[in-house]
Symmetry: D3
């Protein structure tokens, strides 16, 4: 068993949640992450899993910087399509951890090659909503 | 009209194709890109479009490094799924332009959050085929 | 040829349509299924095919209960994504044939494993719209 | 209620199945459609539904020629991706009802714009397997 | 190297752009294509790539008529799903190059077989928005 | 904060992993889950995340039975498509926790309505491989 797994296995869930919350706050650039309020009534456990697993166990891993993770995230979400709320959240998150608007436009232009023009145009529309709120 | 577009518009197609071919050779780490031979009989024009457009007009753009483009590409392909031949090609390409195997494993682990475990497991299977050819 | 197929083959289309209409009315909990009105002007035949085939020939089959079919349906629709109108219709339908809100939240939480957090979050958003109409 | 629906509604299931079988035989250019044998053991009813519904109730409709339906089918299957067995079946079917190999290559080239290069390359690979069996 | 590729390779980018613009104007039935204005602020180069590559290098190819290309396009977009803005644009485009409303309804009905009822219903909803603007 | 979350939050990671391993062994009907060996060389942490999160934190939740979870899982995987290795694993898992072969055939037949015939046929093909290994 390698050392990373040992560490993870014996880390308490509280520590994992705290680590996740800290990363989420950095990405959303807020002290009150929106996912907690938006899921409170219908699916509060899902917010907990997002914080402790997605942010606390995956984002917290070494190997990629937060910026690299956000760039990969927007690439994935825009390529899959139909995930506008999450795409906008993570485009904002990418800007919050150091991406430039020009780099995000470039990810969408790159997307043309791998997922076609419609996915790229919808990605740019999501980006425009963030950069130029009506 | 901005300067980038002026440049692109008046660049001859030959120059665009040469630029694309050079980038493709770097990504595939070969002097004889496989796409030309594989499409020669059935769809030779598609190879030309890949070289002149995908590599010559998109990859050749400034704003993202080749390594950033390859990381975004493997993220997109693994997230969409069902594109194993292209995923393997670009995982190799990512290694050829400076990604480490550990970084590529990390992209697949990150993928769990956004596309679920099955897509991540198939991404790792593609990566294993490249790192440990049977 | 097995007995089920014999039966189906000689069942008149009228019987099939009536069977389908009855099931659709149960799922939508209405005597005037919305699909008929919504397709009347542009694609009336598509409503007929939905009733006679989807409900009359598939849902009417033995082997799964209506509740099992609705649980499978919401799992499929939420996993594929981008099908919000149909997802909401069938979440309501699942409640109408006996699913609890808690079970539907649990299907969306389960979805995290197989399609990732964004699909699960959009599934929960669709469910919230039904449970807590604005 | 329009005349088309009246006709469809009162057509006996046998007639529908016969009409479907005739169309399927034309598309597959055989008197013994492969779907019947391939599903006999595990899911014989699914073959019946394919014949009576897909071919007997949808393909049999007026409004599009068989060639137009096959062209739309290969466009849909190649764009969605991950459906190689069905894509190959319908590429052969398209050739059987009058499409040229060049037209099918052109559909795949057109696909680049709407679903990207990987989907188009996989579509061409499916087509090459049909045109140049190993 | 075949004659088509020779021609394409030495065609100047200006000619390619002009050819693309002419085709786009025909499809959108306007002298001022909307994509140029909608991308001007955030991603002007993406509009250029759409015009010069998608329309100038792909649509301009022989082998399929503009009507055949638009029919394939709406089939692809409706089958993939989640691409409503582009689907509506190209449904209008199909009408502009000679498709009838009935043919477009029929493509959506055909879609039921290959992508299921939800995708077909969303395709019809997009079509209704065009034929019967609120 | 509800009681379920309190419990989860303070459960040690070891307990979570043990709970996940037990569920995975039940689903795969083995004492040596294949995912551990298959990921050992390239992505051992991904196996840990699957066990501790997917099985230990999601499957272990109350609200749905193991059989309901497996039925939802095969519905999701077959609907998304292109995930054959995982679909086969979970079809076997569904049989291991009490589903009948007939119920699984019925899920695939139901899938025709929501994802079309190609996805259903590929689902049946995966099922045939399990029921009738060559």
């Amino acid at each position: 068993m390698n050392s990373h797994r040992d560490k993870e296995q014996f880390m308490s869930s509280d520590t994992t949640r705290d680590a996740g919350l800290k990363i989420l706050k950095t990405i959303e650039a807020t002290d009150t992450p929106s996912i907690i309020a938006s899921l409170r009534d219908v699916a509060p456990d899902l917010a907990d899993l997002a914080i402790s697993f997605a942010y606390g166990q995956v984002y917290a891993r070494p190997g990629l910087t937060l910026l690299q993770r956000q760039m990969a995230t927007v690439a994935m979400l825009a390529a899959v399509g139909g995930l506008e709320p999450q795409l906008k959240f993570h485009l904002r998150g990418a800007l919050n951890v150091g991406a430039s608007a020009a780099q995000l436009v470039e990810v969408m232009t790159h997307l043309v090659v791998y997922a076609g023009f419609p996915a790229a145009l919808n990605g740019v529309a999501a980006l425009r909503d963030i950069l130029q709120p009506a």
